[in-house]
Symmetry: D2
Subunit: 325 residues, 4 copies
C-alpha cells in the first residue's frame, strides 16, 4: 500500500483527498498534518467521516511516506518544504500554485511536472514531483488544448466561467456568507485571474506561436461545487471537424469526454470527469467545459496523478458515484 | 416628519429599517450611527441603496431625535444607553432582548412596554419605550395567544420552527458559511432557545394559570429570510371553533391573518405579515405561523410600533411588495 | 384613480403587477382576467396576497378600463386583441414580444411605442400603446445605449448574462424542476436569443451605422429572480470618460444608476432599478448591468410606462423595498 | 457476476441504482427497462453517465436475471409482476411500497421480507423477495428501534422530519417547481404520512405492547437530497444510558452510527449512512436521525439488501465518497 501524508489537512482539498483515499484500494493515509487540529479526530473537521474511520490529525510528519500531498494556501508550499525535510524517495504532489509555472518549477533541486494528464501523461508517469493544476485552469485548458495542438488558436479567446463557493476555500468571507451568496451572482478579478498564467503556458506548449488574448471573466455562482466554462473563438471548420479533433485528442483520456448535447453543471458534480461540448455559430466555435472544482479541479486530479506516478491504473479509486441531484 | 436615529447601523435589522424608512411618508432618518463605518455612505454597507440616497454613517448621535431605534447585539442596548443621553422626549424602540422581560423592563426610570401590537396595541400607543419582540417569539406568540386568551393551553405545546440565515446576524460563522449551509439542515439550542422567556411571559399574561411545557425545537434552514413555525397541542373543539377564535382575536390586526390553505414560507417573505393556518388531527390542533424574521420579526414590527407610538396609521410605510419568488 | 385591467392574470408578470398595483396610489385594479381561474380569489394563485385583498379572477373583460396590461405568452397578445375589443380610450401595455419590433409595431391601426423610458421617455408619455421591453433586452440595452449614442459601438460586443428561473415562466419544465436547477448552471439558445432583435433595433436607433456582431450567451442560474449581464467591447477612452458618458446619459433616469463598485445581483432584487458598473481592462470596456427580471425587466417597467403615459411621476408606486437577502 | 435487471429505469431511484451498479464489483446491469425510453442511451436520461458507459434502455425484460429491482411508483410493482413472469431463481427487490406491510407481503406465493438490515439482517440473507423500506420510514425506524427493543416506547413520540425535493420523484409538480421551492419551506400530510404504517409495524415487532401515538410532521425543504429527522419522547435514563443502548443495538451495523455531536444533513449526503445523535432535555430524549433519502432511504439500501441476499459483504460497492459540500 502506498503510504500517504497530507499537509494542510483541515482544508477543502485535503478533505476531498481523505474522502477519496479511504476508499482507494492501493493507498493508505499514513498521517494528516494540521497543527491547529492536532490530536482531534478527522471527523471533528470533516464531519461526514463520522463512523468511517478512527484517525487523528497530527502535528508531526513522517518523512518517509511514499507520497506527500500539499494542500496549502498559495505560497505556503514553498514555505513548508523549506521548513521540513522528506526522504529522497518521497514523491510530492502540490495542490497549490507554487510550482505550476516554468519559472517556479525547480525548487531545491526538485523539478515539478505540471500535472494535467491529458496534456502530459507520460511526463507525469516519470515524475517525482507534480504541480497539480488550478481548478479554472483545468476546465479551460481541457477546452482549449485540442485547438492549440492543431495550431488553430489565432484569434481572441473569450471565456466566461462560474465557480462554486468551495472555490474560495474554507476561510469565512463576505462573499461566502450565506445571506450574501444565496440566490446571488457576481464576478471577481475580471480578465486578470491568476490561472491565466498556467493556461497560457500550456497553450503555448502545444501552439508555440500563440499570441492572442485570452479574455477570461471568472464568476461566483450560488452553488457549492463545480465550474461551468464557456469559451468561444474563431473556427473555420464545421462542428463535426471540431468534434473529431477533440475526440482524437481525448481518445486515451480516462476522465475527459466529448458530449453530444448541451451540458449542465450537475453532470459532473462529485466526479473526476471533465465533459466537453462543441457548438458552432457563424464563424465561432463555442466550447463548453465542466468539472467539479474540488475533484478534477483539485483532489481528484491529484489522485489521478498519484496513480500515474506509481504505475497504477489512472482510474484507481476514482470510480465515483455522481451526486447529480 | 418624525426624526429618526438608528444605532448599530451596519447590521441586518438596521439595514431593513433604513429600507423601510426611506419610503416612509411620515418619518425621516436623522442619523445612522455606526462607529466602524462613520463617514461612509450607507450604500457601501447596504449596497442595494446605491442610487437611492446620499447619506453617511456617523459616529455622533443627535440627542434630540424623536425616536431612536437600537439595533444592537443582545446586551448592548443597556450599555449604549448607559453611555449616551437623549432628550426626555426621545422615544426608544429596542430591537434587542435587553428589556423584553418583566424583570428587565425598567431601566434608569424608563419603563419598556413589550411591543407586540396584537397583544397590547393600546399600551404601545401610550408608550415612550418599547421592547421589540424576538423573531421566533413573534411567530410563536401569534400562533399561541388566541388559545391562551381562551385559557385553553393546558397541555404540552410542541413547536418546531425553522429560521433563515439572516436570523444569525451579520457575523461570519461556520454555520452561515455558504458551503456549509447550502442544501443543509440542522438545529441549535434544542428546547432551550432564549425566546422561551418572552413567549412564556406573554402566554401567562393572557392565561394566568399556564403551567405546561413549551417544547421548542429551533432549526436552521438553507434560506435567507423567514420563519416557518408549526405548533401543536391538545384541543377539544373542531377546527372551525379554532378558526373562529383566531379570527376574533385578530379581527383588528393589520398584519396577522388566518389562511384557509396550508402555508409555505414565501407567502410572507419581504412583508410585515404573519399568516396563520389551523388544522385538526385527532385531538391535536396544528397551528402554522409564518413571518419574515427581519420584518414582522424585527424591523417591520419596529416601524409598526413607531407608527402606533406616534399616532399614525399602524400600516404606514408597511405596504410592502412581497418578493414571493 | 386609473382603472386597470390585467389579461393573463395567473402568470408571473401579472402577479408582480398585482403586487405593485395594490400599493399604487393612483391606480386601481378593475379586473384580472384568467379563464382558467375565473371565480377564484387572486390569493389562491398569488398566495402571498392572503389577507391583502378580496378580489376574484374573472373571465369577462371591462372594455372601458383606462389601461390594459397584456401578460400573455409571446404571440398571444395579437390573438387576444383580435378576439376582444376595447374602448378607443383604453391604453394598452403589452408585456409580451408581439409589438416590440418596427415590423410588428402597427396593429389594427394602433401604433405601439417601444417602452424603454431611458431611450424614449417623451414618446412614451404621448403613447397610447406601449410594447414593454424584454427582460434580457432591458438589462443589455441599458448597458449599451450610452455607447451607441456616442457612436462608439464599432466592434464586436460580447455579452454573457444569467437569468433566474422566473425568466422561464410558470410552466413546469425539466429545467425549472427543483432537483435539476438546484446548485446547477447551464445556458440555452447560445448567440440566438430572441431578444437580440430589439437590442439591435434600439442600438441602431441611436447609432445608425451600427454593424457589429452582438455575441450574446444567455445562461440559466440557480436563483429565482434577476439578471446579471456582463458586456465588453473595445473602448479607447479611460474608464472615467465612460463613467461621465453614462452618468450624462442617465442623468434624468429615475431607476438607472452608475455604481462605483463591482456589482452583485441582489443589489436590485425586488426593485425597479438597473445598476450599471464600468471597468476598463486593456482596450476593453467591461459594462455590468443588473436588474430584477420581473420588475425593471417586466412588470415594474410596465408600471413605470403607465405612470409616464398618464402624466404621473415616473416613480409613483415604485418605491420598493429591496429584498437584498 | 450477478446479473441485474432494473424496472422503471428513468426514475430517480433507478438512476441512483445505475450509478451504484456501474462501480459494483460483483454485479452487472443486464437490462434497464423503460418503455418510454427504449432504444435511448441511459445517458440521455441520467446525464451524468455521459462517458461512463454505452448502454441502452430496453422495453423487453430478460426473465432469467439473478435479481430484479422494481423502481416503480407505488402500486405499480404489483401490476408489473402480474403482467411479467420471471424465473423461479430471480430474486426481487421492490423499492415501492407494495409489499412492505404484513397484509401485503405475500404475492403470488412469494413472501417479501421487509428489508431493513438493522432490524432483520438474517431474514434478508435468506430472502428471495425483499420489500425495501421507505425513506422517511428508514430514518425514523433507525431512530426508534433501539428504544422499542428495550420496551421503552411508552409515551407519545413526536417526530419532525424534512425531506429534499428528490423525495417527490421525477414528476413535475407545483411544489417541485424551482421558483416555488427555492428558499421556501412547507409541510404536507401532517400526522398522516403513509410511512407511518411500516414504522408502527417495525416498532411493534420489537415492542409488542407498543400503543402510543407517533405524531409525525413531514416537511419539504429547499434542498435536493436527504432527510433530517428529529424525534423526542419520554426517557427516564441518562443520555449515556441511551447512547450505550443505541451503540449496542447498532454494534454490527455497517452504515448506522451514533455520533457525539449535533448533526447537520450534509454529513450523509451521497452516502449510504445513517447517523444518529442523542440528547437529553428534562425527561425527554431527543433523537436525531439523518440519511440520504435516495441511498440509505432507497437505492443504497436496495444494494445493501442485494449484497446480503447474495452472500456478499454488506458494504460491497457502497464505499461512497460523500459530497459533503
Amino acid at each position: 500500500m502506498i503510504q500517504v501524508g497530507i499537509i494542510g489537512g483541515a482544508g477543502y482539498t485535503a478533505g476531498e483527498l481523505i474522502r477519496l483515499l479511504i476508499h482507494h484500494p492501493e493507498a493508505e493515509m499514513n498521517f494528516v498534518y494540521s497543527t491547529s487540529n492536532a490530536g482531534n479526530q478527522l471527523s471533528k473537521v470533516h464531519q461526514d467521516l463520522v463512523g468511517s474511520l478512527d484517525f487523528e490529525f497530527t502535528d508531526t510528519v513522517n518523512p518517509n511516506v511514499d507520497v506527500l500531498f500539499l494542500c496549502l494556501g498559495h505560497g505556503n508550499s514553498v514555505k513548508f518544504l523549506e521548513a521540513n525535510t522528506f526522504s529522497e524517495d518521497t514523491k510530492i504532489i502540490d495542490l497549490g500554485n507554487d510550482f505550476r509555472l516554468e519559472a517556479d518549477k525547480v525548487f531545491n533541486g526538485k523539478t515539478f511536472v505540471y500535472g494535467l494528464p491529458e496534456l502530459q501523461r507520460e511526463a507525469i508517469k516519470k515524475a517525482n514531483y507534480v504541480a497539480n493544476p488550478g481548478c479554472f485552469a483545468t476546465a479551460i485548458q481541457l477546452g482549449l488544448l485540442p485547438l492549440a495542438e492543431a495550431n488553430l488558436l489565432n484569434n481572441d479567446v473569450h471565456i466566461n466561467a462560474v465557480t462554486g463557493a468551495t472555490g474560495a476555500g474554507t476561510s469565512l468571507s463576505a462573499t461566502t456568507h450565506y445571506t450574501w451568496r444565496d440566490n446571488n451572482f457576481s464576478y471577481y478579478k475580471p480578465f486578470t485571474h491568476q490561472h491565466l498564467g498556467e493556461i497560457n503556458q500550456s497553450v503555448k506548449q502545444l501552439q508555440g506561436d500563440f499570441a492572442s488574448d485570452i479574455l477570461f471573466m471568472p464568476n461566483r455562482g450560488n452553488f457549492s461545487r463545480g465550474i461551468f466554462a464557456t469559451i468561444y473563438t474563431d473556427f473555420e471548420g464545421a462542428v463535426e471537424d471540431a468534434k473529431a479533433m477533440y475526440q482524437a485528442f481525448y481518445k486515451d483520456a480516462e476522465f475527459t469526454f466529448v458530449a453530444d448535447d448541451f451540458l449542465h453543471l450537475k453532470q459532473v458534480v462529485n466526479t473526476n470527469k471533465c465533459l466537453i461540448h462543441l457548438h458552432k455559430h457563424g464563424g465561432k466555435l463555442l466550447i463548453t467545459s465542466i468539472i467539479d472544482n474540488l475533484l478534477k479541479g483539485a483532489s481528484g486530479q491529484a489522485v489521478e496523478n498519484m496513480n500515474l506516478m506509481f504505475g497504477l491504473e489512472e482510474t484507481t479509486g476514482l470510480g465515483l458515484k455522481a451526486t447529480y441531484f
